[in-house]
Amino acid sequence: MNAAGEQIVQASGVRMGYGDVQVLNGVDFTVASGEVSCVIGPSGSGKSTFLRCINGLEPVLGGSLRVLGEEVGHTLRGDRYHPWTPKEFAAFRRNIGMVFQRFNLFAHHSALENVACGPVHVLGTPADRARTLAMEHLDRVGLADHAHKRPHQLSGGQQQRVAIARALAMNPALMLFDEPTSALDPELVDEVLEVMKGLAVEGMTMVVVTHEIAFAREVGDWLTFFADGVVVERGRPRELLANPGHQRTRAFLSSVLDPKEREESR
């Protein structure tokens, strides 16, 4: 665990794009240890891309992105930043858990093997020990009874909980959630959010890209609104949802919140 208040993610002016298309136009963003930072914004606003930059799945092309004390993708040696080798990327990602919108469980492994996979193949944990630990992680997300099922035998909500357990098995210092409930049937959303709430309560540092405004309000320490590849505004969730400072934020919130929720926000 990190000392409270220590900066885990520090982004300043992060830029990223494909060819002529700019996806991120200078993102400023910070997350301190133990904080839950929720990110909202219209699709195509760059929020998922930014999340994927944090663990180096997408390359940062401009600005500076420091995560867990390292400039993502480069190491300063002498008077130059040297690009990371695949090995250095791999070593960096060990400390960062990621949960995907489409779960991405390993299709040829059981739930238990999915969770044990990281420790066994990345950390070199002995198989027996890894399976015992994996069982504990599955138990924690309420899926000990389903340990030997394949991903296709599990519901979406169960798959996503296995995916969270798989990420936690690596003992990460930071957890990234990329729209973890967007691919789920509505009745399965809560079981995943409950697990995430539990993590937040235990003090896990989390960055959550989501459309679940209620979750952001209740669990988030900070709420960031993305649009057009930049951070439009950032604030305490309740304040930002009740009094958005920008027209774009207001327009977005009125499109995603139903009237009852809007009432609650005030």
Partner: protein, 302 residues
């Protein structure tokens, strides 16, 4: 086809008329006539000695030829499969040099006839009378006489294996590319290196696409080995041809060889069917249970 009578409005059962498949009867009659004529021409042919066919069917040299054919087929297929996986991975590598080399390899070996390749390996001694393997700038190394190394057998294995690898690499590439990219991202997010991701996550899942065609490749290989007779590899075709060159029973020995090829193909087809049932329809679930895959895969991928 319905045989039960249909009850009409007044409750009377009325039988259903029989369908006459005139097309089938006609086709059967034509086929039978042609087959009978061919059989008569072959069996009753005074120029074809069926007694000799029976005599040579289990001739010692024919049997040893069958064995060599199986050996070359198996070894060349194994060489082709292993090398094919390697070439496919190189082909997909980000390293432009590796990828370019693999593309060149595939182009070269698919672009030249396998017959030419066989003759080339067999005659390698014309280019390099000695094969030398040594550490540069030292005297440490080994040296062979090319003619002793490049026998009919080894040049057959090399030629057929290297050629298969080029074709098989494309199959493997298709299998690897069919695995959802999300699997790769999840593997990277866990902290796997590209090599580990390939070995632990992607290849095991690509196998369900890669494995079924291997049966086909092997069956095809069984018969392609007959080309080996140009380099005198002592396979079935070589031995059969050497016998008929001596006794002039060309047709009889071609029939003997064909019967053996058909038997080998039948056995291989049976095995292929089982392989496909295990891997093809089972799709991604291939490692479940205590099956063959479950026993082999952990060893391969551990």
């Amino acid at each position: 086809m319905r045989t039960e009578p249909i009850t009409d409005a007044s409750g009377r059962p009325i039988p259903v008329a029989r369908t006459w498949h005139w097309g089938r009867w006609l086709a059967a009659a034509v086929a039978l006539a042609v087959a009978a004529r061919l059989a008569y021409l072959m069996v009753g042919n005074p120029n074809l000695d069926w007694g000799k066919v029976a005599e040579y069917l289990f001739h010692e040299r024919i049997l040893s030829g069958v064995w060599v054919t199986i050996e070359i087929s198996v070894l060349a297929t194994v060489l082709g499969l292993v090398l094919g996986v390697l070439v496919a991975i190189m082909r997909l590598a980000h390293n432009p040099v590796l990828s370019g080399l693999a593309t060149f390899y595939i182009w070269f070996f698919r672009g030249t006839p396998v017959l030419v390749q066989l003759i080339f390996w067999y005659n390698l001694a014309f280019l390099f009378p000695e094969l030398v393997l040594k550490i540069p700038f030292t005297m440490i190394g080994v040296k062979w006489d090319t003619n002793l190394v490049m026998t009919g057998f080894t040049s057959a294995m090399l030629g057929l294996g290297l050629n298969l690898a080029a074709y098989f690499a494309e199959t493997v590439r298709a299998g690897i590319q069919a695995v959802d990219h999300g699997q790769t991202e999840a593997a990277y997010a866990l902290g796997m290196t590209p090599a580990k991701r390939m070995r632990v996550i992607v290849l095991p899942q690509a196998l369900r696409i890669i494995i079924p065609p291997t049966g086909n490749e092997f069956i095809s290989m069984l018969k392609t080995t007959s080309l080996v007779y140009v380099v005198a590899g002592h396979d079935l075709m070589t031995n059969a041809s050497q016998i008929y060159k001596a006794n002039n029973l060309i047709m009889e020995l071609l029939i003997v060889a064909s019967l053996w090829y058909m038997l080998m193909t039948a056995v291989a087809t049976f095995l292929q069917g089982r392989l496909e049932r295990r891997f093809g329809s089972e799709a991604v679930r291939l490692v479940r249970g205590g099956g063959l895959a479950a026993r082999i895969l952990p060893k391969v991928t551990a």
